[in-house]
């Protein structure tokens, strides 16, 4: 009869052993909650080894959307954030969660779509006008719908255009996929639809198919990346010294040079901007 009680404690015991065996924490490591764009574009994989070599600090990167990354940090599950949604960042800082925001790099967003371009927006430089045209043509448009920085930008543009896309085309031409940048590009490619992408993810994306850049060069499409530390008055910040060291490295000449040196097929993906904020 005693046996009946044995399996559960035994299971927990074994589970404990398995977890201890699996755990090999780096002596010094921090968790960076970041956007999918800086991770999927390969930027962090390119610059982090230099930082780790110099300082011995390993940076574990969570590739999340900006909204999720800020939430992860607000719950103390990350040590700092690297994100690209100025409005959400201001809220994060105003709520007492973040301090010391510094811009580290910029590039731009682009409107991409099929070569056939049913809404005839190719070659224009006005993203808001392009969205209006897409809406009136009821051409398929893929939205991230994941509260990421790119999603926030898209919604700001619709707001300026005075169109509620979910109301105007939800379930028909406006397709909210609730996914990352890569998933949105795959979906747009598969459905011959328009979408908005950051340039970094676009340049390194390998399944472009019939998609091409149609609208670029609108000041609305500026994309800035900021690093933000957690506010010690609200958070326990056990690794603040390491997180600060990483933030300082990103804006230092070494970090800025590494960011500017990252190229895909000869094209520079991110422009270092710590010295001269845009």
């Amino acid at each position: 009869m005693k046996l009946r009680k044995l399996p559960l404690p035994l299971f927990i015991f074994l589970l404990g052993h398995a977890t201890v065996a699996a755990e090999q924490p780096a002596p010094q490591s921090i968790i960076l909650a970041s956007t999918t764009s800086v991770e999927n574009s390969g930027l962090l994989a390119h610059i982090l080894p230099a930082f780790t070599k110099e300082t011995g600090i390993t940076v574990h990167v969570l590739a999340q959307g900006t909204g999720q990354a800020l939430q992860t940090a607000a719950w103390d599950d990350a040590d700092l954030v690297l994100v690209h949604d100025p409005e959400a960042e201001q809220k994060f800082i105003a709520a007492g969660d973040g301090i010391d925001r510094q811009q580290i790099a910029w590039n731009d967003f682009i409107v991409v779509g099929p070569h056939a371009d049913p809404a005839h927006i190719a070659g224009t430089h006005d993203a808001v006008a392009a969205l209006k045209t897409i809406a009136s043509a009821q051409a398929p448009f893929v939205s991230r719908g994941d509260k990421s920085g790119t999603d926030a930008l898209e919604h700001r543009l619709w707001h300026v255009a005075e169109i509620d896309p979910a109301k105007a085309g939800g379930g028909s031409w406006y397709r909210d996929i609730g996914g990352g940048m890569g998933a949105a590009l795959n979906a747009a490619q598969g459905m011959n639809a328009y979408t908005i992408s950051d340039r970094g993810t676009w340049l390194s994306f390998a399944n472009k198919g019939d998609l091409t850049v149609l609208v670029e060069g609108d000041p609305h499409l500026l994309n800035r990346y900021d690093v933000i530390l957690l506010n010690p008055t609200k958070h326990p910040v056990p690794k603040q010294a390491l997180a600060e060291r990483f933030a300082q490295w990103l804006v230092s000449p070494d970090g800025q040079t590494a960011i500017g040196a990252y190229k895909v097929q000869g094209e520079q993906l991110f422009h270092p901007s710590a010295a001269a904020p845009k």
């Binding site: 977890t19 699996a22 574990h60 990167v61 056990p238």
Partner: protein, 178 residues
């Protein structure tokens, strides 16, 4: 096909566990966020391999227990009476039944293994898909797909299938020849 536990004409088998019958139906996608909430605010566990091991164990254990239990139902119906007449202890009965149903138990444990190595929802949520730390075959497949590297994603998938086949084949060779 045989019926469930309730249909057993004789008494319940020694490790009857109705909970084990319904737990496997817990979707991995529920275990993910539930475990995330439990581990959150303790930087030590969330986004570590440990968190992934816990998630996988929580998903696989009930399923394997339930399947193994079903595998020994039949021999229990057949030999249960004899074992009890024989005065066999609980432990000895279980051991005998597992030995009799060995082949089918191994198949079912392998089914649990297959589900574990192909699971992607829960481990992505609690592991975070950190390169070189919590990135595994399935989360790498998701990542490569999102980077548009569909060929590479498919390649990873083939490697994963290969690993599954090798493990299953080894298990059968080891257990069949014992």
């Amino acid at each position: 096909m045989r019926g469930g536990i309730g249909d057993l004409p004789i008494s319940r088998s020694p490790i009857a566990d109705p909970a084990g019958e319904c737990l496997p139906r817990f979707a991995p996608v529920v275990v993910g966020p539930a475990l995330y909430l439990m581990l959150s605010r303790s930087l030590a566990l969330l986004f570590t391999p440990s968190a992934m091991v816990i998630a996988q164990a929580l998903l696989a254990a009930p399923m394997i227990i339930a399947l193994a239990h079903r595998a020994i139902e039949e021999p229990w119906q057949e030999y249960g009476g004899a074992l009890r007449v024989d005065g066999a202890t609980r432990l000895r009965s279980i051991r005998m039944l597992l030995a009799i149903a060995r082949r089918s138990v191994v198949t079912r444990v392998l089914a649990g293994f297959g589900r574990t190595i192909s699971e992607v929802g829960a481990v992505l949520i609690v592991g975070g898909n950190i390169a070189g730390y919590t990135r595994i075959m399935t989360t790498a497949i998701v990542l490569k797909t999102s980077e548009g590297e569909l060929g590479l994603a498919l390649g990873f998938g083939l490697v994963l299938i290969g690993i599954g086949i090798v493990v299953s084949a080894s298990a059968f060779v080891l257990w069949e020849r014992r």
